[in-house]
């Protein structure tokens, strides 16, 4: 396992202006909420700034200089993002509003044209609502059947249940590559392979994994991958759907409007090719260019180094949190986990814990983290989650632990 010395954390931290914020005079922000949204380096902020100050124009349809430049930058960013996850072609990258919209796009278009009543879609018990509710909506509308890979007591997927589920001949297996609550890293390659062998497509929720681990959609043979810009150093308002070209080509459009068409008459239209077919209306131009800059930044540091750093921090956090009497950490040990630690503290509600941590500058998140079923599974309505990214340090985890002792003092 690599250690943080392969990354110059001090230099990295200097790139993130928000890390200088004081939550109150003399109390520096300790940002441990990157699982909800990451902070942004100046390189990303300045790139969007530059766009709005000197390059802003609508794309695709313009021949003036700004429009041509913006089009090139927008499509150039698509290329960077394709390369970042090793997609075979740029056109396999579709821009959406967020990872949630990406899942909905697949459910609406691939789902409605491929799933009939009784067809099975396999999910897991640790899914974020984003990869759960769209399928429930389709189940309500279409009568498709949802089945779930169970989560073990230890917080990993119960892979022994997969063969049985695959005997139901599902059309799709859709699952998270990294749980936003348990931190669990799931065996993506293994599940994709098994799904394909059973004749199912495999869709991966990469909202947590893509920011934290190297991703290779071709090596993993993933059919659909969804993720969000804002969790990987990019701006809000932008999500990504990767889909294999042949699948995207065969799918009907999602939304209708400008840019997704080839020809329109009053009573009929024909659709443009992939990916434009799925990008109706003016896209998130500045945001796409911003995500391109974020990907440049991540590449420069290196996803291997980031993964090693996040893992080292997580291991340290688990170790330190376990020392605190009354703390219960959810999810597996470090061998199956990275990037976050969700826990409860005996006698104090997670909401109160987060609130008091905040008074010590430590930003965490309390609640169900948009994953109610996995909380129900573990019998708690809420947890407090500390989540880590490339700019965090062990000292910040020490601050978290010290502040936890203050919580205990109040709820003694």
């Amino acid at each position: 396992m690599a250690d943080t010395h392969t990354m110059d954390i001090k230099r990295i931290r200097a790139d993130f202006p928000v890390l200088d914020v004081e939550v109150k005079p003399g109390v520096k922000l300790v940002y441990l909420d990157s699982g909800a949204t990451s902070q942004k380096p100046v390189q990303v902020i300045e790139r969007m700034n530059q766009y709005y100050r000197a390059e802003n124009a609508n794309i695709h349809r313009g021949v003036h200089k700004l429009a041509e430049q913006a089009t090139e930058d927008y499509e150039g960013a698509r290329g960077k993002i394709a390369k970042f996850i090793n997609a075979a072609k740029s056109k396999e990258i579709v821009f959406t509003r967020n990872a949630t919209e990406s899942v909905n796009l697949v459910a609406h278009t691939w789902g409605r044209s491929n799933l009939q009543a009784g067809d099975v879609v396999v999910l897991t018990e640790m899914e974020h609502h984003a990869n759960l509710v769209p399928w429930q909506m389709l189940a309500n509308e279409r009568g498709i059947r949802l089945e779930f890979i169970p989560v073990t007591e230890g917080g990993v997927l119960d892979m022994s249940a997969l063969p049985g589920l695959l005997e139901l001949k599902p059309k799709l297996v859709s699952f998270t590559a990294m749980s936003n609550v348990l931190g669990t890293i799931t065996p993506v390659a293994e599940i994709v392979k098994a799904a394909h062998a059973a004749g199912a497509l495999a869709m991966v929720d990469g909202a947590q994994s893509v920011p934290h681990l190297p991703t290779d959609v071709q090596a993993l043979d993933i059919d659909f991958l969804v993720f969000s810009s804002h969790k990987m150093l990019g701006p809000t308002g932008l999500g990504v759907l990767y889909g294999k070209e042949a699948l995207l080509e065969a799918m009907p459009p999602f939304m209708g409007g400008g840019d997704m068409i080839k020809r329109v008459k009053l009573r009929e239209f024909s659709t443009a090719g992939v990916p434009h077919k799925f990008e109706a209306g003016t896209p998130a131009i500045a945001e796409v260019i911003g995500l391109g800059a974020a990907v440049d930044y991540l590449n420069e540091i290196g996803m291997e180094a980031i993964a090693a750093h996040d893992r080292e921090l997580t291991a340290y956090a688990l170790e330190r949190l376990e020392e605190v009497p009354g703390v219960w950490i959810f999810g597996p040990g470090i061998e199956h986990k990275s990037s976050n630690a969700s826990f409860t503290l005996k006698g104090a509600h997670p909401h109160d814990v987060a609130e008091i941590l905040n008074r010590h500058g430590v930003a965490t998140r309390a609640g169900h983290h948009c994953a109610m079923p996995v909380h129900e599974k573990f019998g708690v309505p809420a947890t407090t989650r500390a989540s880590f990214y490339l700019y965090n340090t062990k000292e910040e985890i020490d601050t978290l632990v010290e502040a936890l002792y203050q919580v205990k003092e109040i709820f003694k």
């Binding site: 909401h351 609130e355 609640g367 169900h368 909380h375 309505p381 109040i410 709820f411």
Partner: protein, 134 residues
């Protein structure tokens, strides 16, 4: 001690005086705060003079939501329903005696929302958002 975590609140959270259910009851209602999953159920006994004779709550949630529920039950015990209807955001803040940010404000107001839903017998009198902005 931290302002928000006054002794009163920690005490009521750790040792609620009005926790429990009432059977029989004249009113029972429950709801949750979708933002954090806090849940409150309130049971009331209202007599034929339209006065609350007994009030109890059960629930799960943070110290603010549970303490405010407990304090609210205490306040309404013996109160005419007509007066219960007039209770507003400020009454809860007065009971707690603290300032609250927008997120915790909703924690504090959950019991009031449930109470109003129960007493008025309506599903959604005012959303938590509206109550917080009121």
């Amino acid at each position: 001690m931290d302002d928000l975590y006054r002794e009163l609140i920690i005490d009521r959270y750790q040792n609620p005086r009005f926790s429990g259910t009432l059977d029989p009851h004249t009113h029972s209602y429950e709801d949750d705060n979708p933002v954090c999953g806090d849940h409150i159920r309130i049971d009331l006994r209202v007599d034929d003079k339209d006065v609350v004779t007994e009030a109890k709550f059960t629930g799960e949630g943070c110290s603010i939501s549970q303490a405010s529920a407990d304090l609210l039950m205490e306040k309404i015990t013996g109160m005419p329903v007509a007066e219960v209807r007039t209770l507003a955001k400020q009454d809860i803040l007065d009971l707690l005696g603290i300032e609250l940010g927008p997120v915790r404000l909703k924690c504090a107001l959950l019991s009031l929302k449930v109470l109003k839903g129960g007493v008025y017998g309506l599903d959604e009198v005012m959303s938590l958002d509206e109550l917080a902005e009121s």
